[in-house]
Symmetry: C2
Subunit: 317 residues, 2 copies
């Protein structure tokens, strides 16, 4: 049983209706809904201490949660940050720099740190970041509301974070003397930027029919939309905004694989009706395909033909 299957089992067993999107949606008042998301990062599962720096880790710990709120079209308001901290990180300045990275991003988007918990541990660093946000009543973007015929958009380049991860796995360092393109990829892995501003714009435009953030990988996250919307999808390979830095560091077939299956880019993946293609494109988003009524089937169309795409994201180390 993997994490997805376990969560599905828990959802089903306890009939948890509010679990299953990037955030839980709770009614706040007649005008607003509250959005809630929790993201736990575990050392040696979600990050490696020796590959990152404390400020980047603080940044990323919050960024992934801000991205969840953005994926629902909401605005992040407050956060609770809990840490289990190994003894050797307790007094060496790590925590100060970690909070500095976390707070810098929080201040950038007006998110208030309202509490949390901290505990020592003899083992690995564990970070749990909870963010609360708000969205106009019933206006949250959902995964379950795409329709056949809708166009599929991503908000920017994809695959960069996965490329950065692979470079780190090969032994490259963020601060070593490597190429600018490799540095940019590693930076996308270590300090991803949530699409907060775009989410606000899309919310105001009112064109989004479904959305998710690309945290597990395009194939996997599009799979979530298809599954929950009971639709299928066609993706056009030549439309995919593969990160341009990938081609300087990886062979072509690897570049496409990273774009399709690489996670953690924190891009928005959303759908909009065919009448709104231009409006979506004017936000900088890129049309990559369309939703179909072939439920559960994602096809990739390229000059080599048409292949069925299986979700392959959500790769940890």
């Amino acid at each position: 049983m993997n994490e997805f299957q376990f969560l599905d089992a828990i959802r089903s067993k306890y009939q948890l209706k509010d679990v299953g999107d990037d955030c839980a949606i709770l009614p706040f008042d007649s005008e607003k809904d509250q959005l809630l998301t929790a993201d736990m990062l575990v050392e040696d599962v979600d990050f490696r201490i020796e590959w990152t720096d404390p400020r980047s880790l603080g940044h990323k710990a919050l960024a992934v949660s801000l991205s969840d709120i953005a994926a629902m079209g909401g605005i992040s308001r407050w956060s609770l940050l809990s840490l289990a901290v190994p003894e050797d990180l307790w007094n060496n300045g790590f925590l100060d720099r970690f909070y500095d990275g976390w707070m810098t991003l929080a201040n950038q988007f007006g998110v208030e740190l309202v509490g949390g918990d901290i505990s020592r541990t003899g083992d690995k660093l564990v970070i749990d970041c909870v963010v609360g946000g708000e969205v106009s009543h019933t206006k949250a973007f959902r995964r379950s509301t795409a329709k056949a015929g809708d166009m599929i958009f991503v908000s920017g380049t994809i695959g960069g974070a996965a490329g950065g991860l692979e470079l780190l796995e090969k032994g490259l360092k963020y601060d070593s003397e490597i190429s600018e393109s490799a540095l940019r990829l590693i930076r996308k892995q270590l300090r991803p930027e949530p699409e907060v501003s775009l989410a606000n714009t899309l919310q105001q435009l009112g064109i989004v029919t479904s959305a998710i953030d690309i945290s597990d990988g395009l194939s996997s996250d599009l799979g979530h939309i298809c599954h929950q919307s009971r639709t299928g999808a066609i993706i056009y390979a030549d439309q995919l905004p593969l990160d341009p830095d990938l081609v300087f560091n990886f062979p072509p077939e690897k570049v496409l694989e990273m774009g399709l299956n690489g996670g953690e880019d924190l891009r928005l993946l959303f759908t909009a009706g065919p009448d709104n293609i231009r409006t979506a494109q004017e936000t900088g988003s890129i049309a990559i395909g369309e939703m179909t009524d072939n439920a559960g089937c994602i096809e990739l169309v390229s000059q080599n033909g048409r292949i069925r795409l299986d979700p392959q994201g959500f790769r940890h180390f």
Copy 2:
């Protein structure tokens, strides 16, 4: 630097006004405030797998957060539960039983599980439980609002959870053939009951001038009230409701020490004006002393005289 000092440093550095009570208080609307609390439990720091059972651990993981909401006079509404789970607990039924204990307590008090996160880890189990609640606008119980002359109350017996911990440390097992009194103490350590019902009653009565839950120990938690209210306190040793099961298992001087410094009983410690002694007592609460204007000084009065009490709670393993 310990956890308290670290959190004080973070609070001060980033001017976090909403950190410092059992919960953060956020304005919700004109009628209600939202309460938020996070509690992280770390294996071998806050619990030992071999001393507890999965259902009790699930119960306790939620109970400590419900107690925080109760200590503010609020009602718990929803929760986010995040877990970092070691491989050996993943497929052995541990998680099912853990959720069963957690959900049983949640259902008892109408708390909805709305989300969370789960991750595997090669190391220790880490549990982070966030609970959101609500309270009438400006009616949250605070630590900072006690006045000299107020009477001090606890909601029930104290020291039992500390006694249970010591018995576990001595090697006694929850399910072994030990005395009923020892079993009751161990049960108080492993499955503490939050004072949810009493908190609601006290909120309706409107007599509380300050409150906290006894999670770190009476001396330590009363110290928090004194510090934040800029008051002192006198405690009468012969009024302390020491857990009656302690005397069957520990020598007298140890019993008093456990009552004063033992944590995790999840009792409410609160103050009320001298006019409301009877009303407070009618809730089952016990008057144990009074607040003074001798700021920061907690004195213990017994037949042996008067001694100054230093906060000594918050003992982990």
